[in-house]
Symmetry: C2
């Protein structure tokens, strides 16, 4: 395995202006792993219940994703249900049943601990810290978080992200974590907390990556079909770290060009994710389509 | 003169989180002309009252802007007053005194009618149409408008923009004019109304330009100092058409690279505008600074 991904594996129910699905495969770990699987060999660490379907295991397996770290325990799989606003930029959570995820205590298979790349999905910072501690010496550790942990677990989060090479957040989370309204100054403060790189995801408007002495600023992809944004941020994370893993870079030697390309592959994977419900787009997406969209990015940002 | 600019010349009172100015030079025509003056020879067409200050004429003159088409009539100059929200993304109009602008009936000096470039600022569509009719045969006509004209003067606006090569609007206006939520489909519908190019300005998130068979999509510039966004959209327009005028292109032969660069120069000029109140940034801005920021755009979008 080249990349280890930790996070939730879930079932989701979503309603968007484009339709409604009662129950479908979801969870941050699932989206990140599927997205990254187009770039590198991925192993996941997560927990599911007895209701987790064989066809969903088969989908992950069909993308070459290692399942040795996916625990199956008595009980039901994490379930989340939400409904999106008309422009799909807002969503309301209708139901969150943690189920077996409430007892999640990630334990990495021995064979995973030497892997060079680690992606920590959005879970409690203490669990992220425990996972990072089980890894021997990853070349690049990327972590995600959210406003809930920033507000209510700030100390634990700040302690945890010290050891990360890259933090992924959105605009509002960057401002909340730094206490600074201006994005450039917010980025300086966050980078001073430990992470060498900060990626600020801006939804349909793309993403900015800050590094020592500079930044990468890429627009989003203009979609013609937008069915379900669930998982888009996680697919960004998967494309981002997956591409960097495919380059074999470490946090210290990543070049601005590699970082820019990683941001674009991240944006792309997020955009593909939105074209169908849940993970459905990944049932047919090909690496050729990913390269074609990369070339579109190159064309519409060419100066 | 290479570029003729038509629109309001005004005094503004603004309050932003960075401060308050009771009365300062403003108006779409003023901002467009100052911005474009860094790229090409500009002549303006507008109207002011007896209260218009010599120092403001001097500022325009110092940038080489032709004032032959600036009428001075009895009465007071257009006055607008507004207050911005905390994030400066919203503003509330407190006062609009049209004054002499209520009787504005633009009449172009003979020497302006042969000019190759025309920028129609946001005024009543019938007046924009009259100005376009007075020009002999411009190589490129760009027009701005706003939700008020789209809602209440739709027929007149649609009739007017038939003759434009490029329309500049924001996201919401593009959706309102086309009746289409998806931006790519909205652009197709608007381009079918006449303009070969559509520019959608997205504030801090940059701008998209749609042309036959493709588009340009550029992020915005990340500002560290944001004092007053008044006039930023007009400065975008000035940088955009000013750069195209400096290339000498016509609507039919503009290349995607020229269009992309025009979008970046537009974004830049909008970003510089926000760094100080009103037009103050243009009292010190140099062409070298503009080139330096262009190189920053090239660096942070490089793939």
């Amino acid at each position: 395995m080249s990349l280890i991904v930790v996070g939730s594996v879930a079932y989701d129910g979503v309603a968007t202006p484009a339709g409604k699905v009662e129950r479908m495969l979801g969870g941050a770990c699932t989206y990140i792993a599927l997205s990254a699987s187009y770039f590198t060999r991925v192993g996941i660490v997560g927990v599911v219940g007895e209701d987790f379907a064989q066809e969903d295991l088969d989908l992950l397996g069909s993308r070459g994703i290692g399942l040795e770290g996916l625990e199956r325990v008595p009980g039901k799989t994490f379930f989340w249900q939400g409904v999106y606003s008309d422009d799909m930029n807002e969503r309301e959570t209708l139901r969150t049943d943690l189920n077996v995820f409430a007892g999640f205590n990630p334990k990495l298979p021995q064979g995973y601990r030497e892997a060079p790349y680690l992606m920590l999905g959005n879970i409690q910072p203490a669990l992220q810290k425990s996972v990072r501690g089980q890894m021997r010496n990853p070349r690049l550790t990327v972590g995600d978080t959210m406003n809930y942990w920033i507000n209510d677990y700030r100390g634990e989060l700040v302690e945890t992200l010290k050891d990360w090479d890259c933090l992924l957040v959105n605009d509002g989370e960057a401002r909340l974590l730094s206490g600074e309204k201006n994005l450039k100054r917010a980025a300086e403060k966050i980078r001073a907390m430990g992470p060498r790189f900060l990626v600020v995801k801006r939804g349909e408007f793309g993403a900015v990556l800050f590094y020592e002495g500079g930044h990468v600023n890429m627009p989003g992809y203009l979609l013609e079909t937008l069915k379900d944004p669930t998982g888009a941020g996680d697919c960004f994370a998967g494309g981002f770290i997956g591409y960097l893993a495919s380059c074999g870079v470490s946090a210290k030697d990543a070049t601005p060009q590699q970082l820019a390309r990683a941001v674009v592959y991240g944006s792309e994977m997020g955009s593909y994710c939105c074209e169908d419900f849940g993970v459905d787009r990944f049932r047919t997406l090909t690496r050729d389509a990913i390269e074609a969209r990369f070339n579109e990015f190159r064309a519409f940002t060419a100066l």
